[in-house]
C-alpha cells in the first residue's frame, strides 16, 4: 500500500540527494520496505524473472547491434560473423535467441498465474491491461527480431505476417480508381517500403526492434506503479487486512525471487550451452531466398497457438480478425469474469475449465507446428488437424466470453480463510 515513507538518509550526501531527487527514497519504498503479502508462492516470482529477461535481451541486443548489418546482402553474413569471429559472439547470439524463448516462457506462466489467482480483477484492471499491452509489444518485438538474421524462415515469416494486412482489401477493394490497390495492399506496401519484403523492410524492422524494448521498459514502470497502488494479489485472493499479513519486500522476496531466478537461469544456461538450436528452426540457417518458399513455414513456438487459430479459419479476413481478436479478448478479462471470488483455489468448477484452457493452449501450440494438411488416424477415421484446431479455437473464445461470465454467476465458491495471517498460521499449526 502507498503509505508513509520510512526512508531516513544516513549521511550528508544522502540527505543532499534526497532533497533534490529522492531516488533512494523511491528505491527504499518500492523495493525494500514495500509491504508484500507473506504467502506468495513460486508463481509470483515471474515478475522479477521477466524484468531480468528484459534486461538480458536489451544488453545482449545492444552489443549484438554493434556487429550486425541490417541489409539484405550482408545481414546473414554479419550474424555468421558474430557466431564465428566476434569474441564471445556465439555466446551473445545464443543468449539473445534463447532469451526470447525464456522471456515468453516466463510471460505465459505470469499470465496464467494472473488468470488463476484473479489478479486481473478489481482494483487491478489497469495493471492487467498494461500487462496485455506489454505482451502485445513483446510479440511485435519478437516478430521483428526474428526477421533480422535474414534466413529463409525470417524472410517468409515476414512475408506471411505482413501479408495478413492484405485481408483488409475486402473492406476497401480500391482506394481511388478501379486499378488502385485496396486498403490492405496499401498498408502492406507501406509496411514493406516496396512491393515485397526487401531491404527497406529489413532496415525499418531493425530500427523498430531496437526501439520497442525501451517502450516495454517504460510500460513495465507503469505496470509496477499500477501494482504498487493496491499492492500485490496473493494465492488466496483475499485482501491484505493489516501488517500481520505482509512482510517487507526486502529481504523476504529479494532472496526468494533471487533463488527462483537462479533456477530459471540454470534452465536458460542449459539451453544456451547444450541445446542452443533446440527451439529454433533449421531453415533459418539457409540464407533468405525470395524465389524459394520453404515447404513448411512455422513461427517460433511461442506464437504457434495463434498460428493454429489463424490457419483454422479458411476465410482470410475472418482468420485475421480471429487472430487479433484472440489477443484483444485478454483486455476484457477483468470484466468478463463475474465471480466475486478472486482465486481459483476456492472456485472448484472454474478451476476445471481453467486447466482445460491450459491444455487447449498446449494443443493449439502443437497443432500450429504441424503441416496444414496433416491428418490424424484415429481408429480407422481420418481426422484432418483442421478440426481439432477449430474446436481448440472455439474453446479459447468460449473460455473468455461464455465460461468466465457464466461460471462466475452460477458457481458456489468454497469458503475463504479470514485473513492471510490466519491462513498462514493455520497451515503452521496443521503442519505441527
Amino acid at each position: 500500500m502507498s503509505g508513509n515513507s520510512t526512508y531516513e538518509p544516513k549521511n550528508g550526501l544522502s540527505r543532499w540527494l534526497d532533497a533534490r531527487l529522492p531516488i533512494m527514497r523511491l528505491a527504499h519504498d518500492t523495493m525494500s520496505t514495500f509491504p508484500t503479502p507473506r504467502n506468495l508462492n513460486i508463481w509470483y516470482t515471474f515478475g522479477g524473472i521477466l524484468t531480468f529477461c528484459l534486461g538480458v535481451q536489451i544488453v545482449t541486443g545492444i552489443v549484438l547491434a554493434m556487429h550486425y548489418t541490417p541489409t539484405a546482402a550482408a545481414a546473414f553474413d554479419s550474424v555468421e560473423n558474430i557466431r564465428r569471429e566476434v569474441n564471445y559472439g556465439w555466446l551473445l547470439n545464443f543468449i539473445h535467441s534463447n532469451g526470447a524463448s525464456m522471456f515468453f516462457l516466463a510471460v505465459y506462466l505470469h499470465m496464467f498465474r494472473g488468470l488463476y489467482y484473479g489478479s486481473s480483477k478489481a482494483p487491478r484492471e489497469v495493471l492487467w491491461i498494461l500487462g496485455v499491452i506489454i505482451y502485445v509489444v513483446m510479440v511485435a518485438t519478437a516478430f521483428l527480431g526474428y526477421v533480422l538474421p535474414w534466413g529463409q524462415m525470417s524472410f517468409w515469416a515476414a512475408t506471411v505476417i505482413t501479408n495478413l494486412f492484405t485481408s483488409l482489401d475486402q473492406i476497401i477493394p480500391h482506394l481511388g480508381g478501379a486499378h488502385d490497390p485496396g486498403l490492405g495492399t496499401t498498408i502492406t506496401q507501406w509496411l514493406w517500403g516496396g512491393f515485397a519484403v526487401g531491404d527497406p523492410t529489413l532496415n525499418r524492422f531493425f530500427s523498430l526492434h531496437y526501439l520497442l524494448p525501451f517502450v516495454i521498459a517504460g510500460l513495465v514502470v507503469l505496470h509496477i506503479w499500477a501494482l504498487h497502488v493496491p499492492g500485490n494479489n496473493n494465492p488466496l485472493g483475499i485482501d491484505v487486512k493489516g501488517p500481520q499479513d505482509t512482510v517487507p519486500f526486502h529481504p523476504y522476496y529479494t532472496v526468494k525471487d533471487g533463488f527462483y531466478l537462479c533456477l530459471f537461469v540454470i534452465l536458460f544456461a542449459f539451453l544456451v550451452f547444450f541445446a542452443p538450436d533446440f527451439v529454433g528452426n533449421p531453415d533459418n540457417y539457409t540464407p533468405a531466398n525470395p524465389l524459394v518458399t520453404p515447404p513448411h513455414i512455422v513461427p517460433e513456438w511461442y506464437l504457434l497457438p495463434f498460428y493454429a487459430m489463424l490457419r483454422s479459419i479458411p476465410q482470410k479476413l475472418v482468420g485475421v480478425l480471429v487472430l487479433f481478436g484472440a489477443i484483444a479478448t485478454l483486455l476484457f478479462v477483468p470484466w468478463l469474469d463475474t465471480s466475486r471470488v478472486r482465486s481459483m483455489r476456492f472456485r472448484p468448477l472454474m478451476k476445471q475449465f481453467f486447466w482445460i484452457f491450459v491444455a487447449d493452449c498446449l494443443l493449439l501450440g502443437y497443432l500450429g507446428s504441424q503441416e496444414p494438411q496433416a491428418v490424424w488416424h484415429l481408429g480407422g477415421v481420418d481426422v484432418p488437424l483442421l478440426w481439432p484446431a477449430r474446436i481448440g479455437t472455439l474453446y479459447y473464445f468460449a473460455f473468455f466470453w461464455v465460461i468466465m461470465p457464466v461460471i462466475g454467476l452460477i458457481e458456489t465458491p468454497r469458503p475463504r480463510p479470514d485473513s492471510i495471517a490466519a491462513s498462514v498460521l493455520g497451515n503452521a499449526q496443521a503442519a505441527e
Binding site: 552489443v63 554493434m66 556487429h67 564465428r84 569471429e85 566476434v86 569474441n87 564471445y88 559472439g89 512482510v247
Partner: protein, 184 residues
C-alpha cells in the same frame, strides 16, 4: 513473527555474505564477454600482419600498401636520396627520436635507425600532425609534403619543417626474402 537481528553480523548472517559474494563474482565473470566482444574479432586479427612482395618497385618509386587499415609507404630510394638522408645532422631534426617500432623508444633518428636495408624506406603514411596522407616527392627536403598544414619530411621520413611533432612512424617489419617483407 519475524525477529529482527540488530546485532553485528554473526555466524547467522554469514550465509548471506557468502551468497552475496558468490553472486557478485558471477556477475563480474558474466560481464567479461560483453566487454571483450568490442575487442578486435578474429577476422580482424587475422589481418594484423601482411606479407608483401616489393620487387616490382623501381628505384625512385614508391608503392602504398594497406596494413591494419593504415597506408604504408614503401619507397625504393635512389643513391642520392640515401646519401642526403645520411648526411643530415641531428641538430637539424625537430624530432630526434627514431620512432621505429622495431627499435627501443629512445633510439636516435639517424638514417640507420629508420631503415633495415638502405634501399628501402618503409614508413606509415600518416602525417603525425593531424592524420592526413603526405604527398610523395614534394617539399624542399626531397621526401614528403603534407597538403593539409604544410609539414615537410625528408628522404628518411623525418619531420624537418612544419607543425608535425614527430617523424613518420616506422611499422614493425622484417625482410622474409630479398624482396619480400612482412609487416606486423
Amino acid at each position: 513473527m519475524a525477529t529482527t537481528n540488530t546485532a553485528e553480523p554473526t555466524r547467522r548472517d554469514f550465509i548471506h555474505i557468502a551468497t552475496g559474494t558468490v553472486a557478485a563474482v558471477g556477475v563480474g565473470l558474466a560481464a567479461w564477454p560483453f566487454i571483450d566482444q568490442m575487442n578486435p574479432s578474429s577476422a580482424v586479427l587475422a589481418l594484423s600482419s601482411v606479407e608483401i612482395d616489393i620487387g616490382s618497385i623501381q628505384e625512385g618509386q614508391q608503392s602504398v600498401f594497406m596494413w591494419r587499415s593504415k597506408p604504408v609507404f614503401v619507397r625504393r630510394r635512389t643513391k642520392k636520396e640515401i646519401a642526403e638522408a645520411e648526411a643530415v645532422s641531428m641538430n637539424d631534426l625537430p624530432d630526434k627520436l627514431a620512432r621505429n617500432l622495431n627499435l627501443p623508444e629512445d633510439a636516435p633518428a639517424t638514417d640507420k635507425n629508420r631503415i633495415e636495408k638502405p634501399d628501402w624506406l618503409i614508413v606509415i603514411g600518416i602525417c603525425t600532425h593531424l592524420g592526413c596522407i603526405p604527398l610523395n616527392n614534394q617539399g624542399e627536403f626531397g621526401g614528403y609534403l603534407c597538403p593539409c598544414h604544410g609539414s615537410q619530411y625528408d628522404t628518411a621520413g623525418r619531420i624537418r619543417k612544419g607543425p608535425a611533432p614527430e617523424n613518420l612512424a616506422v611499422p614493425p617489419y622484417a625482410f622474409i626474402g630479398p624482396t619480400k617483407i612482412k609487416i606486423g
